[in-house]
Symmetry: C2
Subunit: 411 residues, 2 copies
């Protein structure tokens, strides 16, 4: 492993200063290669699919694993789109002249060597590899073992393109030792690796956060709330709540808990009940909710659970303070929304709720690199530092200060 | 400890949204309190000084520890200057309207609870406490045990001002258990603490980086180089090299190694020798240097050492590539300088050297929050992520996205 990491770190110097047009050209070549190697990729993917069936993966997981011609074409298209993104390296973030007449520029630069740990979908291998490449970083990828054949062939296709361009294969590679021990070693190698991005289950993320000496930007759970304030436009509130919960319940920016002001509960809850019933949502409510609509009891554990399913906890609150208090206690700092026409309540919610994304009168489902306009995304960070919320290509850069003098010495 | 951290985290919500004018007023009250409590502070400091003498601290350390009326006045003045800094919270860093017509604002917000671990000088207690306060964060401070009485009284003076303003004392406090075990526990408490900033010896920083589950922004060593390119203005080069090494050899932005192009070595080295001899610098050189000037041998270990003393390693290099290669191998990513009149060499050095601060024709001694114009500084980060280089008050903030909708749902 250490030999590999030495090469990875050395490769970082090559990719860090590569000119933008060359990076884009190579990414387009990679897209072409995925298409031309389509049938080989499908063959390897079949092995993963077969093993998955034998190991009893459910149909949803098998579907995520499957690569067919259409999906490989989509992967190629994604690389072409990443090639077109605005160059993330060399942006002048700030610039000024100091009291000593030094010209100081704060400029975006690649981070270096980035380890990304993820599960299931094999398109992540090409997407994240390409995002790291475009941003001048070396990518060390560790996918799920259920997608091992697929990830191997995808990485090989990309690496062959690197080699044809006289570049080291280590610029985009799979972690050579993909066992749990391999991951344990990788996250301690801070002399070679600059950042670890874990995307996956809570257990994995917890393990990595607790044990890494390499800095971690984690993609943890989203326990998101929507708060219907007494001055909400109720029709709008219902539409937003339905969208936040039901449009795609299995994702981290979906709502898990709905908070409703007491002053409007008697009017709002029956209408919400009708709307969610149409969507076949399983509703659970606190005792006060149960007095108004017929739902199961929501326990404290419910309020603390990211269902990732079409289940909703509902709670009646006295007002803004109780709503914000509940969110502070149970929220995961991902995405939180208030629905209100009241200016002061909206501003207070935006200021006081501590989360990556805070919304007024919109669905939490918009927390996403694509929706934000970042193009392809690395994920949605639940870190507070470095990258918070949707993590696009710019979040794969850090900065340096370039300082232009003409003989200045310190007095 | 856990009780204390629960209170600290709860206090974070209070300070996070405090209005700017109130924070400034309280900081000025703290400055007044330091002055009015001056004699009590001196009395407590005397206990530290006495213990220091008994424990055989050298005169430099004792001098760093000493608080007299003048130094206490300087601490108060520093608080007044921090009070005057531009408000770091609520800056709109970016803003746009997305394809769904959501108005998205990226806004600076406090980080939350910050633990700062430092050594020796007790003025750090008030400085860092005030920087955290101004940026809306809770500060948990752990100073050196040699300054324990001084730190206790300074913290008490600041906390009494908090209490008079009906604010929790936990907003600025010393770590209750200041033992090594206390620190070990603190750095694992990621459910309460958002950031650890260690300033101190390599051992301490290594220990914290390896063991923390809380994110760390470290203030590690500076092994800084100055590279005299063959097209340098030699007189300027010598003045810069002398300043970088000798103006204050004990700090992290001082030069440790001087690299000189072979093409000008025969002319440059004797002149450098004369200049550094006047400054009583102990020079060590590689064999090629030794052929030109009479100095001790610089070993590989020398090139890998942050002397923090008036000692200089010198090496002859073939040109830009070898200089950049040497810096990549031995540099600590802190501050690196090239002295040249050659445009292409200057640009290549700035682009290819991976360090927080890269200079053309100036002394590395300018890597400093004050020199950069940031006002008081937390320190100089050797992290690549979140904060790199001089860490001012803005680096004590993170960001959130505020998203303003009018009923948008995801399609």
């Amino acid at each position: 492993m250490e030999d590999f990491l030495v090469k990875a770190k050395a490769s970082a110097q090559i990719i860090a200063t590569m000119e933008s047009a060359k990076k884009s050209r190579i990414l387009n070549e990679m897209a072409d290669a995925l298409i031309s190697q389509s049938s080989t990729i499908e063959t390897e993917n079949t092995k993963d699919m077969q093993a998955g069936k034998e190991n009893g993966l459910d149909s949803a997981l098998l579907d995520r694993l499957l690569l067919d011609e259409g999906r490989i074409a989509a992967m190629a298209q994604s690389l072409r789109e990443i090639a077109q993104l605005t160059e993330p390296v060399g942006r002048v973030l700030e610039g000024w002249v100091n009291a000593d007449n030094l010209r100081i520029e704060k400029v975006s630069v690649p981070i270096g060597v980035i380890g990304v740990i993820y599960e299931s979908r094999p398109n992540v291998t090409s997407d994240v590899g390409a995002l790291c490449f475009k941003s001048g970083n070396v990518a060390i990828l560790k996918g799920g073992k259920e997608a091992e054949y697929s990830n191997q062939i995808i990485a090989k296709v990309l690496q062959d393109v690197l080699e044809r361009n006289d570049l080291p294969r280590e610029i985009i590679s799979l972690l050579p030792d993909s066992s749990r021990e391999g991951v344990s070693r990788l996250i301690k190698m801070d002399q070679y690796v600059d950042l670890i991005v874990p995307r996956g289950g809570e257990g994995l993320i917890r393990y990595i956060s607790q044990n890494a000496s390499v800095p971690v930007v984690k993609h943890d759970k989203g326990l998101c709330h929507t708060y219907i304030h007494q001055d909400a436009n109720l029709e709008q509130a219902i539409a937003i709540a339905i969208n936040a919960k039901c449009q795609r319940p299995g994702v981290c920016n979906a709502m898990e808990t709905l908070l409703v002001d007491r002053a409007i509960a008697a009017e709002a809850l029956p209408r919400l009940y009708t709307a969610f019933s149409t969507e076949e949502t399983e509703m659970r409510g606190d005792p006060e909710v149960q007095e108004i609509i017929e739902v199961e009891l929501a326990t404290m554990e419910d309020f603390d659970t990211e269902y990732l399913a079409n289940i909703l906890s509902i709670k009646v609150v006295e007002g803004l303070d109780e709503a914000i208090g509940h969110i502070a206690k149970y929220g995961s700092g991902h995405s939180e929304a208030i629905i209100t026409e009241n200016y002061t309540a909206a501003e207070a919610f935006l200021d006081r709720v501590d989360a990556a994304c805070v919304y007024v009168n919109a669905s939490t489902r918009f927390t996403d690199g694509g929706a934000f306009g970042f193009g392809a995304e690395v994920g949605i960070s639940t870190n507070k530092l470095h990258a918070r919320g949707p993590m696009g290509i710019n979040e794969l850069t850090t900065y340096k200060y370039k300082i232009y003098g003409h003989g200045q010495i310190r007095g």
